[in-house]
């Protein structure tokens, strides 16, 4: 039994006005465990706190109940008071007799009566309180960034800037991501390469940053501050540290006809390749599915021309074990497949392309060296139709496409249309739109400029069917404002394909026990207040893996994620919330129900030896909670069929005691 002291606060007249504080402290005197009870004008004042400290000493108190304002207001204050008096801070309970009593009831009789009951409940609870100590764990001062697009690059640079080492894991042979493929960027039209490639160089030259390109994360163990990550370095058959990126091998490789991923298959690359001139790391990679040396053991030309001797046909995939304190997910996005939208004839005509393909077609480093041509015959297109919202904003029952707005398409289409009209004024440009969504700084002005200064024809309506016939694309569409069906003979049709999270995101989320929504976007810990944290402690989100984003937004989120990581890595030790779940191993039957409901992946299972009554030992599988990861929601405690799981600070018996005290 505890030795409980009860302190009833008047809060001036805030409480004393409708609650007879004297009667309350008197009534609570005789409750089980109570050895001291008093009341005072302002319990939270220095004098009030001193009074508590003295009482602790004088009456040898082991528990404190303060009947005062909401615990959301002063629980922390009184916990500190208790700690100063030498008590465990978690031996304090608050009875909320202000916000939930004196302020909402007018009658002093009912107010007093209720205050007494609330006090009794708090006493009943504190009698079952146990001292709690927050767990501590060390922090590995290194961060991992998964994904090397603009989101990952910015996050890594910001973290490194604060002095912490960072590793970037990128599955492609080079960092740069989607932004490296873009031509110009809205709304200022600066060239993507001009602003991105210097950042890539910064990454390469920063001695705090290591780049694992052509690599992927295959396993994640541990928890916030202490992640253990397995990184698979795919064999690129070129020694990264020796290759100078001179490109002699690329030139000499006889296997030239392989679809070039960087140009979305619109031209070819050799079996040994460097994705683009400013690639980082600027190292060649051999495509094992295309190389005759690797497939048949014949050729070896690249090895002969490599003066550095970097080619290594025997290279194997390599697995690295690394430790990190924080992980940032920046896996980005991809345009969706156009398979289910063949009313636009994407599979039937080379001249129906996606916006990202258009981006490559207009890029000076692209397959046509920046000349806008029809992919089918290399001729200049005179009529171009842009179709918005292809696969975005679809209802679930349509069974194709995505339900969300992809956010970036309105702006990049305005950009494409504007640039086309700027470079080729003889080209007719139509944009079919449902809504033009331009919420962003200088965005709507940009779109209006496309219409007003560049004469882009925006038509509210949608394309229903594209029919390739001869060398034309017959576009049938509706114009809702004119209430007409339009038939346009186009040379090029550009589809603003919806974007979706990268396919690698879902298996990664499973490894990280980070949650995802039904669209495979990572879920943030709080949609408004914790937009860059995942619900799993120590895992942060950057860029389009969390939802569709343009570059400025991605960069700001990348910076925010970095600052959260820095905040974490600055700490030498992490102090947890002591009100966490814990499992009674003797009662646990290892059913996994708790782990299934835990939103944080805090529960794991281990095989433990137990001594049986007959003195034999038996190995059983039991749950164990990682206190550094548990956030203390209590979902597991209710799910547990055997009652083994309980929550410290809000234990079954404690809440039950409160119920009993109230219902007495």
């Amino acid at each position: 039994m505890q030795r409980v002291g009860v302190f009833v606060c008047w809060c001036g007249s805030n409480i004393a006005g409708t609650v007879d504080v004297e009667a309350v402290s008197e009534a609570l005197k005789n409750e089980p465990g109570v050895v001291f009870s008093t009341n005072y004008q302002y319990m939270c004042s220095q004098a009030g706190q001193d009074m508590i400290k003295e009482a602790v000493k004088e009456h040898n108190l082991t528990g404190i109940v303060v009947c005062s304002c909401s615990p959301r207001m002063h629980e922390a204050t009184f916990r500190k008071t208790a700690a100063a008096a030498g008590l465990n801070p978690y031996m304090v309970e608050i009875a909320n007799i202000r916000e939930q009593c004196s302020w909402v009831h007018k009658d002093i009789l009912t107010g007093t009566e209720k205050a007494i009951i609330l006090g009794k409940a708090a006493i009943a609870k504190v009698n079952l309180n146990a001292p709690l100590t927050p767990g501590e764990s060390p922090v590995t001062k290194r961060a991992l960034v998964i994904g090397g697009g603009i989101a990952g690059i910015q996050t890594a640079l910001d973290i490194a800037d604060a002095g912490f080492p960072v590793d970037i894991v990128e599955k492609k042979p080079t960092i740069g991501g989607k932004m490296a493929q873009l031509d110009k960027t809205f709304p200022t039209l600066d060239c993507a390469a001009c602003i991105l490639t210097p950042k890539m160089v910064d990454v390469a030259q920063n001695d705090k940053i290591r780049i694992f390109s052509y690599s992927e994360v295959t396993d994640v163990q541990g928890f916030v501050g202490n992640f253990e990550v397995t990184i698979k370095k795919n064999a690129r058959f070129v020694k990264e540290d020796i290759c100078t990126g001179c490109g002699a091998c690329v030139e000499k490789c006889p296997m030239k006809k392989n679809p070039n991923e960087f140009n979305l298959g619109m031209d070819n690359r050799p079996a040994i390749y460097i994705p683009f001139a400013q690639a980082v790391p600027k190292v060649a990679t051999i495509d094992p599915n295309a190389c005759t040396m690797l497939k048949k053991g014949k050729c070896g030309l690249c090895s002969k021309v490599c003066t550095a001797g970097a080619i290594d046909y025997t290279q194997k995939d390599e697995y690295l074990q690394e430790k990190y304190g924080a992980i940032v997910v920046a896996t980005g996005f991809n345009p969706i497949s156009m398979d289910k939208f063949d009313e636009f004839a994407y599979s039937q005509s080379k001249d129906v392309i996606t916006s990202l393909e258009f981006e490559r077609l207009t890029n000076a480093a692209g397959p046509s060296a920046g000349k806008l041509i029809r992919p089918s015959d290399g001729k200049h297109p005179h009529t171009i139709v842009f179709v918005q919202c292809v696969g975005s904003r679809c209802d679930a029952c349509a069974q194709k496409g995505k339900e969300y707005c992809s956010k970036i398409c309105c702006m990049y289409t305005a950009k494409h249309a504007m640039l086309t009209r700027d470079k080729y004024p003889d080209t007719e440009v139509y944009v079919f739109y449902i809504d033009v969504r331009t919420p962003g700084k200088n965005f709507d002005e940009f779109y209006r400029r496309a219409v007003e200064e560049y004469g882009v024809k925006y038509i509210k309506g949608m394309v229903g069917k594209v029919t390739p016939e001869g060398d034309k694309l017959k576009v049938q569409a509706s114009d809702l404002i004119a209430n007409k069906q339009l038939h346009i003979d186009a040379d090029l049709v550009v589809l603003a394909a919806a974007i979706e999270p990268d396919k690698s995101a879902r298996p990664l989320a499973t490894m990280l026990t980070a949650s995802m929504d039904t669209n495979d976007f990572f879920t943030e810990a709080h949609p408004k207040l914790k937009p860059v944290e995942s619900p799993t402690a120590g895992v942060f989100l950057s860029g389009a893996c969390q939802g569709p984003k343009d570059i400025p937004e991605t960069v700001s989120q990348a910076g925010a994620a970095a600052s959260k990581v820095i905040g974490l890595l600055c700490k030498d030790k992490l102090t947890g919330n002591p009100c966490v779940a814990n499992s009674n191993e003797l009662m646990c039957n290892g059913c996994s129900a708790c782990a299934n409901v835990c939103p944080y992946g805090a529960i794991s299972y281990e095989d433990k030896e137990f001594r049986m009554p007959d003195r034999t030992t038996k190995v059983r599988r039991v749950a164990s909670v990682n206190p550094a990861v548990c956030q203390g929601c209590g979902a597991c405690t209710v799910t547990c069929p055997s009652g083994a799981m309980d929550l410290k600070g809000f234990a079954n018996l404690q809440i039950m005691a409160e119920v009993d005290a109230i219902c007495k």
């Binding site: 009313e343 209802d395 349509a398 309506g461 394309v463 229903g464 049938q476 569409a477 509706s478 069906q485």
Partner: protein
């Protein structure tokens, strides 16, 4: 202008959910009978949503729809405009003497190759 009763009937018969429409106009962009119609597929959805039914009931557009279901398949929102047209047409033809085709019309239609299917289908669509 705002006929709640007819609106309810149409929604009941068609089972379509017009509130899902986001006014993209893909149904009308896709419709092969668009030029023959006074009211177009997207207008059917929108006018039913606002309860503006009478003009539709009295329009020849009802008999121009080919029931090709292209609007149903291509609608990104699952609104099913063809089902709405069908429901309005049934409301019109179910009235006495409102059949849009009679047996007297048949001789003019039929030639030696006319498949039975044509007459059966036309009667099913235009009469009640």
């Amino acid at each position: 202008m705002n006929n709640r009763y007819l609106q309810k009937e149409i929604l009941r018969i068609s089972g379509a959910d017009v509130s899902k429409c986001m006014r993209c106009g893909k149904c009308s962009g896709t419709c092969p009978a668009y030029d023959e119609m006074e009211y177009h597929p997207h207008q059917f959805a929108n006018m039913v949503e606002s309860g503006d039914i009478e003009p539709l009931l009295n329009s020849q557009s009802l008999y121009k729809c080919l029931s090709c279901f292209a609007c149903i398949d291509r609608c990104p929102r699952g609104v099913e405009p063809a089902k709405i047209v069908e429901a309005v047409r049934l409301l019109a033809t179910r009235k006495q003497g409102a059949n849009h085709m009679t047996a007297n019309d048949v001789p003019a239609i039929v030639d030696e190759d006319t498949p039975q299917q044509l007459l059966v289908s036309a009667f099913r669509k235009y009469t009640k």
